[in-house]
Subunit: 339 residues, 2 copies
DNA sequence: TTGTAAGCGTTATCAT
DNA sequence: ATGATAACGCTTACAA
């Protein structure tokens, strides 16, 4: 694409100054006479000059851009997080790249490519290998990890999982449930891993025997449905299913119904995230709310501090979550919502 | 950020060739001896060399990036469209920028800035002024418009609105409804404008007097709730509300219920989009499904053709929509879903 | 087939 | 306060 927009040279010529002066004016340096500054400013406006991003980046300045890497764009979870991120980042004057890895093998490669176009980036969960992250940081680009446990000197942002999972499970125990199942893949995501830990902790503390092994399961409704169906058809009957997220739970509710089971009378089912659906689905889903937008926004904020050099000490932010009790966990005298 | 990663010079030196040769190998030019090609390749691997994006862009090549500009990230609609876009674009080897304008006044400026960092971009609805789009195109960067009626030589992608709106309204008429209201702002969005047109056409054809003026309303549930509340409290009673999207409709259902009205017995309410909630909400929402992912993916595909120069003739893609009849439009003998 | 060298549009370092 | 001018890392004629 031929450059049809004016360059710094044209501005300089027309204003009767050198390109250095234009650059200074443009950058807001003080060492410029008000008179010349005004003249240059006017020419800039007349020509509608705007400096080339590539040239600027090449000359060693910043990209004024950051990126966020996530596994997949589908479902409310990622959308909300990215929304929070984009909003905060663009307020801070940064353009934002998004990269969905979609489980591709090339994701490390793609992330590394992205790293070359930004001043810093956010990495969700286990989308890229730790070695890759280290290389990025070694190359001087700040990285913030999202939805992962704290790692050494890298900033991390996550929502509380274990304690809430424990509280959730205890709530189920209070309802009298004794035979549990966990739907989700602890291996696949740090979040799920922590939730499973909290789940187990509650069961152990209650002395309900050995906690069951998790039933591995992707994050989507269809996968939850399939896993729950298999579980219900084969295993010893569970009277409570703790799902790793709301979509899985909704799939599980469907599977239970298809088998003539009533929720929560015959089987209790809980979710995680508190997506919009959780409230509207029948029965209302007992779940754990996490501040999705805030997760993204916080990541953006931490990254900005790093880029600006405002802070050098690593920070590990843990955002609070809240148990949201609805109907799917068992019979309640009246509808309540605990926080 | 000092460049800590190897440059083309280091590769050249180590391979004992000139930088031009390295560049050729890297670009896959054929005019290189297999022997030297192999040697260079090996050094590239050894050093893990990857060319600087900025330098490449500056040297007149491409950015290998595109962008999408949308008004706001919230709600399933935008998320889905962006998902479809990102997936297709990144398959085509392009990094993707997202820019939410959030109704900011600076949106034109931001979009123009973005235009300098990409090889082409997609603009949704009326997020940026037409004059700005023209300037981008004049500057040689291809633009694809999303969710807008065809404009001259610019590629456009949209979903069918008017005919479906008409069919939807006719369905309501078939139910016997006669007093209608339309919730949404035709001024604010081309999509809504077309839906309102189809709505009016059906009413006129039915000879049901003058179609009502639209009740302006944002796209979110809270706004739908507020608008419906005002409508129900003040105006002459409507027995059918056509909402511009599902979220508005859900808000309207809530408002109706709060006033002791049963849906659909006392009042029918329809939505648009067929988001996940539409099926689960009570009563199931009669709505119009549009292929959200496909909208984004198609925009990406058109843009890629333009960038690659594969096509120069403008294309205007109109994706089909489908009436989805559920319970909220009126009593049905049995649950059915029409396509 | 390969190398030399001229840009690409900035920023930043010197002089002046 | 301002102006030359050397990077920045790459692509691409043009030579050899």
């Amino acid at each position: 694409m031929a450059r049809t927009t004016p360059t710094i040279y044209q501005v300089a010529r027309r204003a009767g100054v050198s390109i250095a002066t234009v650059s200074r004016v443009q950058a807001g340096h003080r060492a410029v006479t008000p008179a010349t500054r005004a003249r240059v400013r006017q020419v800039i406006d007349e020509l509608d000059y705007r400096p080339s991003r590539s040239a600027r980046a090449l000359a060693g300045q910043a990209h004024d851009a950051t990126g966020i890497v996530f596994p997949d764009l589908s479902g409310p979870y990622y959308s909300e997080v990215i929304l929070g991120y984009e909003e905060r980042a663009s307020e801070a004057g940064q353009s934002v790249f998004i990269l969905g890895t979609h489980g591709r093998a090339r994701s490390n490669e793609q992330a590394l490519e992205l790293a070359d176009r930004v001043d810093g980036l956010v990495v969700m969960g286990r989308t890229v290998d730790d070695a890759v992250v280290e290389r990025m940081q070694a190359a001087g680009i700040p990285v913030v990890m999202l939805a992962r446990p704290p790692v050494a000197a890298t900033d991390t942002v996550r929502a509380e999982n274990e304690a809430s999972a424990r509280a959730l499970t205890e709530h189920l125990l209070d309802h009298g449930h004794r035979s549990f199942a966990f739907l989700g893949d602890p291996e696949g995501s740090p979040d799920v891993s922590e939730r499973y830990l909290g789940f187990c902790a509650a069961l152990r503390a209650a002395g309900t025997g050995v906690p069951p092994r998790p039933v591995p399961c992707g994050f989507r409704e269809a996968e939850g449905h399939r896993a729950a169906a298999a579980l219900l058809d084969s295993g010893p009957p569970a009277d409570a299913i703790v799902a790793a997220n709301d979509e899985i739970a909704i799939g599980a509710v469907r599977a239970a119904r298809e088998r003539g089971l009533r929720v929560p009378e015959d089987i209790a089912i809980t979710g995680w995230d508190d997506i919009a659906l959780a409230e509207h689905v029948r029965p209302g889903l007992t779940t754990v709310r996490q501040p999705l937008r805030e997760l993204g926004a916080t990541a953006a904020a931490l990254l900005t501090e790093r880029i600006r050099g405002t802070r050098t000490e690593p920070r590990h932010v843990l955002l609070p979550t809240a148990l949201v009790v609805r109907a799917s966990c068992g019979p309640h005298p009246e509808q309540e919502e605990r926080r």
